[in-house]
């Protein structure tokens, strides 16, 4: 479903991604963890071409993302992206945030988009927030609107870049629950996260990154009890003792 082959990327002199290879099969949930500055955000942003790559190839559902021949706007409708800082449109209501892309990009009928938007918001516990502006919503509610907005395009893949890092502790659970629910529907997902509990419980594989490289890929049971690399051992000892 997502196939990353020999990807390299630099920002000026700094090599941010070095020889990245990874395959995320259909309906799998992969967690990407690692210290800050490891290149996690850069990696996940290259998957929907928010960042360019210097070399290599990224395939999503058979489409080569960075190929000149690919219509990137078309491919992006199949890839939902959820940002750490929500990035809701502040001048639109929750429902309008969810329906604008289906209506304008997919040319879905307005009534159909609204019906589907309400359904999605309600399923994420926001049934009474259709007409609320983002500034009137809590962080957890905003992030759930952002998830609904991404799902409204019926994506084949969902990417999350630290979806709970900007949230107060009491709101982390409601957002993680939403992602959990989504995982159960068989959605293919890649989640950059610092929530080790979530990664251990929900994800098939843990992708551990450091210094622009994928250092280790392992199932959570193995990764958390018996990590192979010294970098991962060091990282885990710091995070888990917290």
């Amino acid at each position: 479903m997502i196939r990353i082959t020999d990807v390299n990327k630099s920002f000026g002199e700094t090599k941010v991604l070095q020889n990245i290879n990874l395959v995320v099969p259909k309906s799998s949930v992969y967690a990407v963890i690692g210290p800050s500055g490891a290149g996690k955000s850069t990696l996940i942003r290259t998957i929907n071409a928010l960042e360019e790559i210097d070399s290599g190839e990224i395939m999503v559902d058979g489409m080569s993302i960075h190929s000149k021949k690919t219509d990137i706007n078309k491919v992006r409708t199949d890839i939902g992206f959820v940002f750490q800082s929500f990035n809701l449109y502040p001048f639109l209501t929750a429902l309008e945030n969810v329906t604008i892309a289906p209506i304008q990009v997919k040319k879905v009928k307005k009534a159909t988009a609204i019906e589907r938007g309400k359904e999605l918001l309600a399923s994420l516990g926001l049934g009474d927030k259709f007409d609320s502006y983002p500034s009137k919503l809590s962080g957890g509610q905003q992030q759930r609107v952002a998830i609904a907005r991404a799902l409204a395009m019926d994506p084949k893949v969902m990417l999350f870049d630290e979806p709970t890092s900007a949230l107060d502790p009491e709101m982390i659970k409601e957002v993680l629950d939403a992602i959990r629910k989504l995982a159960k529907t068989g959605m293919t997902m890649m989640v950059v996260t610092h929530e080790m509990g979530f990664a251990r419980e929900m994800c098939e594989q843990i992708v551990f990154m450091a210094d622009g490289k994928i250092v280790e890929v392992a199932p959570p049971e193995k990764f958390f009890s018996n990590p192979e690399s010294a970098r991962a051992q060091d990282f885990l000892s710091k995070v888990l003792n917290h």
């Binding site: 992206f81 990035n87 809701l88 604008i100 990009v105 952002a146 395009m153």
Partner: protein, 218 residues
């Protein structure tokens, strides 16, 4: 001692009011033209295309470096000759060309004030650059642009007094003509200064009311 005779003002009130109307008309037309023009220039300026961005930057810098008076003369005597513009449209186009450069900077600042994440989330939902600009970025930028655009209108009204030199019968030229026949320069120029002030002050008060209303809704 000089004996002021203010009766010259009411006697010529209709002429003065016509001048006020023409001043407002020319400034408003120039503003209306300079807004889409300025948006276009501003978008070109932030374009990734180096040539487009260079041309727009060059235009903006050039206009900002040339006195409006000289620009008006140039449009009237050079461009106006070729295109049969006449003094009225030379004045409107001159002011619009001048104002457009400043509107472009207002537009650029407005767009740059919208957080980067807005463009990113619009693009990641499959919108093209143009769609994202039109549907997501510009509506937000425009709110930020309203107060400086309103100030630009006030500046235009004041700058428009220069169009009298290409014989547009605006408030300033009306005043000059009245002085030429009545020799009452003290009375007439005082009245005209007050009229300009009334126009700009009223406008800035209206803007302030709108700003306050808008703040309350945020």
């Amino acid at each position: 001692m000089y004996q002021a005779d203010w009766s010259v003002i009411p006697q010529n009130m209709h002429l003065l009011l016509n001048g006020v109307l023409l001043t407002l008309q020319i400034s408003a037309l120039a503003l209306i033209i300079s807004i889409p023009f300025g948006i276009f220039l501003g978008l070109c300026r932030i374009s990734k295309n180096k040539l487009v961005s260079f041309l727009s930057t060059a235009y903006i810098e050039f206009i900002r470096g040339v006195p409006l008076l000289v620009l008006l003369f140039w449009i009237f005597f050079v461009l106006g000759r070729f295109m049969q513009l006449g003094s009225y449209w030379s004045a409107v186009l001159g002011l619009a060309a001048f104002s457009g450069a400043f509107v472009a900077e207002i537009v650029r600042a407005g767009i740059e004030s919208v957080p980067k994440g807005q463009m990113e989330s619009a693009r990641s939902s499959g919108m093209s650059y143009t769609q994202a600009m039109r549907l997501i970025i510009l509506p937000q930028a425009f709110r930020k642009m309203l107060p400086p655009l309103a100030s630009q209108f006030i500046i235009l009204i004041k700058d428009s007094s220069l169009v009298s030199v290409i014989s547009v019968v605006d408030l300033t030229l009306v005043a000059k003509n009245i002085v030429a026949t009545s020799f009452r320069s003290l009375e007439v120029w005082t009245a005209v200064a007050i009229l300009y002030f009334i126009i700009t002050f009223t406008l800035s008060q209206i803007i302030r009311i709108f700003e306050r209303k808008y703040k309350l809704r945020e």
